[in-house]
Symmetry: C2
Subunit: 193 residues, 2 copies
């Protein structure tokens, strides 16, 4: 495996990502990927043995990226309230972006029940986010920006709301206004008490 091979594998991964975004998880066939990549059937199997294998690799790449984004957000040391507001804005953008997200594919994948929970991408993301928010709230309380008895519960609550909004966005449709109202409600509760 030279760097040539690695580059091609990366190309396939990135192309497949677009396919998963467009068609979800279950609807994607090797043929779809082959055509999107403009390579041969056998060529694809040289790198990935199944759509599942491919999707796992795409997810891992995605996790890498979003982890970087998280780190970047944490580095900025504005006030906790500002950072939290920014975080909510990011989430809003993400969950309203129906045409350019792996969310549906990821859910579909998670629904498939016969596989190890070891690599549970969703859970990991969720727990990470809870930790970050909890930390923000605790800081906010310390500097007097927030009022909150139980930062952990509050953080988890916020994440459940976001999960709810996310799944709602992809199953029943959610307007930008609704999301705004919900986000405002979340912030307001922290600032009021």
């Amino acid at each position: 495996m030279g760097k040539k091979s690695e580059r091609k594998k990366q190309f396939i991964r990135e192309t497949a990502r677009k396919v998963f975004i467009e068609k979800g998880y279950k609807n994607v066939t090797m043929k779809d990927v082959v055509e999107a990549c403009e390579i041969s059937r056998g060529g694809l199997y040289l790198y990935y043995g199944s759509t599942t294998e491919l999707f796992l690799d795409v997810l891992q790449m995605e996790a890498q990226d979003t982890d970087d984004a998280f780190s970047e957000a944490v580095v900025n040391n504005a006030s906790p309230a500002d950072i939290l507001a920014l975080f909510l804005q990011e989430q809003k953008k993400e969950l309203l972006r129906k045409e350019d997200t792996l969310a549906v594919a990821t859910y579909e994948f998670a629904f498939d029940r016969e596989k190890p929970d070891k690599e549970n991408y969703l859970l990991r993301q969720f727990q990470e986010a809870v930790l970050i928010i909890e930390h923000l709230i605790t800081e906010g309380v310390r500097v007097g920006e927030f009022v909150c008895d139980d930062p952990h519960a509050a953080a988890r609550n916020i994440m459940y709301v976001i999960e709810g909004l996310k799944i709602s966005a992809h199953t029943m449709g959610v307007t930008e206004q609704t999301v705004d109202e919900e986000m405002r409600y979340l912030m307001q509760r922290l600032t009021n008490g």
Copy 2:
């Protein structure tokens, strides 16, 4: 179509429901249903032309049932706080029942459908629930049980949390304790202010 036919159709519907619960939506084939019903392939096609048609019928039956359950809950005129607590308990039971629910199949189905929002089962359920909760909160405020500035926002918030818990239960796993804590958090916010 005599009543005999109708009875058989009902039998197929109920049997198919179990299959959808067990295998989700996308993984169900006509063969699965045929085998579960112990009828012939052609026999099934006499009643349903596709798994989609079948699932829609199952959903409709399900909606009928839960609507009845809702009505029943509303009839009881205990105090708003009690009714809300009861409602949350019901939701908890429902979302922890991983092995006996159409939730996953319904999500999978919702992911597929692009156009007909007309028959959006999830949205309808959600909006109905918001209305009920909003009403409960308003009543609760009136009799002094609850403190809440914006019952509509609060109600919607509760439902988003429940949605978040629901999807979490089926994708990352949620313990009973977690759900309890979350429910308590929701109630507490209404009683404190």
